[in-house]
Structures are given as C-alpha cells and as structure tokens.
Subunit: 154 residues, 2 copies
C-alpha cells in the first residue's frame, strides 16, 4: 500500500507533458476502439463500422485524424472482381501502442472481469504461460512498481 505523497500540482504541467498530448490524440472512446480493432487486423471502413457500431460520420473523422497523425496509413486494396478501395493499416507508430492496449486489456481482466476467465490472453510464442505488462530496466529485467522513481528534466 505504498502511498503517493500529496502534491498540489503535478511536476510536469499537462500542456508540456507528452502523456497529455497522447491523451489528446487517442484518449477517446471511439479512437481507442478503432485502434483495438486495427490491432486485431481490421482494416476496412465498413468492418470498423460494424465492429464498433459507431456513426459513420464519427468513424470517418477519427480515421482521418489517425491518418493525419501517422498512426494509420491509408493504402488501397483490390479484391479480385471488385473495385479498389482504401484500407487503413497500422504504421509503426500505431503498432507500438500494442503493449499499452494489451496492458489495459489485462487491467480490465483483473479488475473489471467479474471473476470470469478473460476471453483472450497473451503468451510468449511457443510457451503456454501468460505474460503481463511491467517495467524493465535496460537489461530487460523487471523493475517492481515500488522501485520506480520519476526523474525530471530529461
């Protein structure tokens, strides 16, 4: 139960913090659900739409925003006998959100799952035991939460 000491203000004001920028960009319901679907392999407008059940107008705007920000790349696919259509593929930037969304999935499994077995879990390739989100040092060794220290200014 390591308490965080009381402060009146966070050490980094929200407008210079990159977390705040990230929240601005992807911190809304639909955008996160779009990224979730994209990480599972969804790429097409109508597939996103029927997966999310959101208004097409909202989807259209969000996809545009994600493409502008470079998380998604708009390419073109052509099913044989069909006309070419755009598809939205994750870029390296978007792909690098995967650990975060998996971490959030596991957080949800742990606290929001009402005791049910999680519908999806994650393992290392070729292994059966589950992996989890955590911190590691430069050598890839785990750092426990109470060992973490923030350092200001670079």
């Amino acid at each position: 139960m390591s308490q965080i000491p009381l402060v009146r203000r966070s050490p980094v004001p929200p407008d210079t913090c990159n977390l705040a920028k990230a929240i601005d960009l992807i911190g809304d319901r639909w955008t996160l659900l779009i990224l979730r679907a994209a990480l599972y392999g969804v790429r097409r407008f109508d597939d996103f739409q029927s997966e999310l059940g959101c208004p097409r107008t909202v989807l259209s705007g969000r996809l545009k925003k994600l493409v502008d920000a470079g998380l998604l790349t708009k390419k073109s696919y052509k099913a044989p006998g069909k006309r070419a259509r755009p598809e939205y593929v994750l870029s390296a930037i978007g792909l690098s959100l995967r650990p975060i969304l998996i971490g959030l999935t596991q957080w949800g499994d742990a606290w929001l799952g009402q005791g049910e077995a999680p519908p999806i879990s994650f393992t290392r390739a070729g292994s059966k035991s589950a992996i989890r989100a955590a911190f590691v040092d430069v050598e890839g060794r785990e750092v426990r939460p109470d060992q973490i220290r923030p350092v200001l200014r670079g």
Copy 2:
C-alpha cells in the same frame, strides 16, 4: 514490419472484451488526465481543477464515476485550523494503472515529442538508467513484441 493479417471482425467482440470495458470507464480525455494527476499525488478537488482546467461540473462527475468504480477512494483530510474535506486517493485498482500511463507517456515522448528531450523519465531506485514499459513472462524476463501471441478462451 510484421503485418497483422486482415480480419473482418476482431476475435473478441467489444462488448465481452474487458479492454472495451476499460475504455468505457477511463477512455476519455478528462478521466485519463485525472488519473495522471492522481498518480503524481494530486488529491483535492480544487487541485485537480486548477491542474486540468476542466469545468467543475465535469470534474465532479468524473470523480464520482471513478469512486464508484473503485479506482479512487474518498477519504477525508483535515488541515489544522481548517474544516475536514474529502480527498481522492488512488486505490490498488487505480495504482495498478501506473504502468499503462507511464507506457503511454513514453509512447508520447517517442512519437509526439518533436525531438525534444522528455520532461520526465523513470528509473529504478538507486539507478540512473531509464526503465520502460514492456512485457515479462512469469519469471520477470522481457518478452519482445514480436514474440507475443494471443490465445482465445481463457
């Protein structure tokens, strides 16, 4: 450039997925910023308000939601010579979001920081080298992103 294979639907529909539940709960701009501040040690209504600059009515509603969900605990503090007031302290559930928010901070540093040095970073206590969010197996050893495999049904 490991491509994710195309699918028309994600393997776990959003309404049974705990990620979707998590997004429902904390996936909006203000809630995430509240949690950010709370993780830095902010606890009081007016401190949250002046930190975020959000409408008090929204803050009030969001705090209530987070308390109901068990991420925050409403306690009471009393400065000497002042009346008792509530403070909003992170519970174990809320605290366990820390890796995710730090991960998102670092994602923002990497992609949204425009080449500037990050204003805040994190180290292991007593060390100077940075830590980062990652995945570990049961033994606490890092699992690289391309080694991660989803497994359905528990």
